[in-house]
């Protein structure tokens, strides 16, 4: 069992304030904004022009949010935006300072990659709200990294073929986007379609609690072993439900639906709850087909990989039984793209 030893000299109770880089050649403007931001609890770093800003970013890699004026000597705000977007490893949230009537500059800055803009005078309430909003966006990106890392951990343990999560993410996106456009009765928006795809890697997170003996058994599982394996849906669901309780994140709610119900069958013969038809969350119905297709078309320790056509035949047999007919129709509308994805993300064993 691993024991975690905190690094010596590190006080874990102190959390470093979030850093904001303020870029403006006007010292008085920087002073006003710094006062507001520091009062709101941020640590403010300053630069007088774009070039200085880049230097500050290099020596302070934790900077994730920049507020910049556009008109500056040496390097203006437009060039700064371009330079940051061209070279960023982690996403930087960029807010530009502008005057109300300068719409052209705003459009130019946004098209170069700025995220938001603030009109002068940048009054404290608006400045604080837009900065908070920026950090919220950055947190979502971090959450997504976390989601994928969690999912990758469970993938390594279950020894799924490489790129399974990537393929499944693409398949679910194809299905979800197509269904949002073709089946209005599903009430699936394009934003939800995107969410389903983003959290799909978490579908088997519950497998982290399944024993190695069962998870890695090369042959067919016994009845008892299969009952044990089925628990991964409940475990994954419980785990994600707990996270949802704390975060109230809509994405995590969808992840919960996928993890818990992706083995339900359209005809009610699935598990863990025997849900039927439209009672099964659409995210889970989408995940079901994606997971089945990927399992069929990739090698496992107990079977060879099937061709696309062989997998398609099996999927068609399950119309109305294991799988929702509308989801199957969506798959059929786009099967060439599925084949391309399957070919592109080939497992390297």
């Amino acid at each position: 069992m691993m024991h975690f030893t905190p690094q010596q000299g590190r006080d874990l109770k102190k959390i470093a304030p979030l850093q904001v880089l303020l870029v403006d050649d006007d010292a008085a403007q920087r002073m006003l904004l710094t006062m507001t931001l520091e009062r709101a609890g941020y640590e403010v770093l300053e630069a007088e022009n774009g070039q200085e800003a880049l230097d500050v970013c290099k020596s302070n890699p934790d900077i994730r949010l920049i507020i910049t004026d556009l008109s500056m000597p040496v390097m203006d705000g437009f060039e700064l935006i371009k330079a940051i977007r061209a070279d960023q490893v982690r996403y930087m949230y960029l807010i530009v300072l502008t005057s109300t009537e300068d719409k052209q500059s705003v459009i130019r800055a946004l098209s170069l990659g700025a995220d938001d803009f603030l009109c002068k005078p940048a009054l404290p309430e608006e400045l604080k709200l837009r900065t908070m909003s920026g950090f919220r966006m950055l947190q979502m990106e971090s959450t997504e990294e976390l989601v994928f890392s969690m999912a990758k951990l469970s993938e390594y343990r279950s020894e799924e073929t490489g790129c399974h999560l990537e393929r499944v993410q693409h398949y679910t996106r194809l299905l979800a986007v197509d269904l949002s456009e073709t089946c209005p009765e599903l009430h699936l928006s394009s934003a939800q379609a995107d969410e389903i795809s983003r959290v799909s890697p978490l579908h088997d997170i519950g497998k982290v609690a399944i024993s190695d003996a069962i998870l890695h058994k090369p042959g067919r599982l016994t009845r008892e072993e299969f009952e044990e394996m089925k628990k991964h849906t409940l475990i994954g669901g419980e785990l994600l439900h707990d996270i949802y309780e704390k975060t109230r994140s809509h994405s995590i709610q969808i992840a919960f639906e996928i993890a818990k119900f992706h083995h339900e069958h359209f005809n009610g013969n699935g598990y863990p709850e025997g849900l039927k038809g439209d009672d099964i969350p659409i995210a889970a119905r989408i995940m079901s087909l994606a997971d089945i297709y990927d399992a069929l078309t990739n090698k496992r320790s107990y079977k060879k990989a099937m061709s696309h056509d062989e997998a398609k035949e099996i999927i068609l047999v399950e119309r109305g039984k294991q799988l929702d007919p509308r989801v199957i129709d969506s798959f059929l509308r786009q099967e060439e793209v599925w084949q391309t994805i399957a070919d592109q993300f080939i497992a390297v064993s």
């Binding site: 006007d26 002068k120 005078p121």
Partner: protein, 118 residues
């Protein structure tokens, strides 16, 4: 013509930014220096009929005046910024000198010293 006053600016900074008296005075002092320098550069540029520099300094002045709550004078700076792009004219010089005269009393008061008028 609106006359800018130090009290106007003081009130704006205190109410809009929630600054303490000490912070307001610090901000005013800094702005006093910034606006002085910008006005000096703006005047030099406009009397040299340098439209590029005039527009640039007018843009800087506009930003500073907006932050001080001097919207009317900011709009004058904005007019200078745009209108001088096609060439400096006599009315632009007059407007700059008018701005200097109008803002003079704020700058004097914020810096606590006399400044010579152009």
């Amino acid at each position: 013509m609106k006359i800018a006053s130090l009290n106007t600016v003081h009130d704006f900074l205190t109410k809009s930014y929630g600054l303490t008296r000490e912070e307001t005075e610090k901000v005013l002092e800094t702005y006093g220096c910034v606006v002085t320098e910008t006005l000096t550069n703006l005047h030099k540029a406009v009397i040299a009929y340098d439209n590029e520099d005039t527009s640039r300094y007018a843009h800087s002045l506009k930003g500073a005046l907006l932050n001080l709550g001097l919207d009317f004078h900011a709009s004058e700076a904005s007019f200078l910024e745009k209108d001088t792009q096609n060439g400096v004219k006599e009315n632009h010089i007059q407007l700059v000198e008018q701005l200097i005269a109008t803002l003079h009393n704020i700058i004097d008061a914020s810096l606590g010293q006399e400044l010579g008028k152009p």
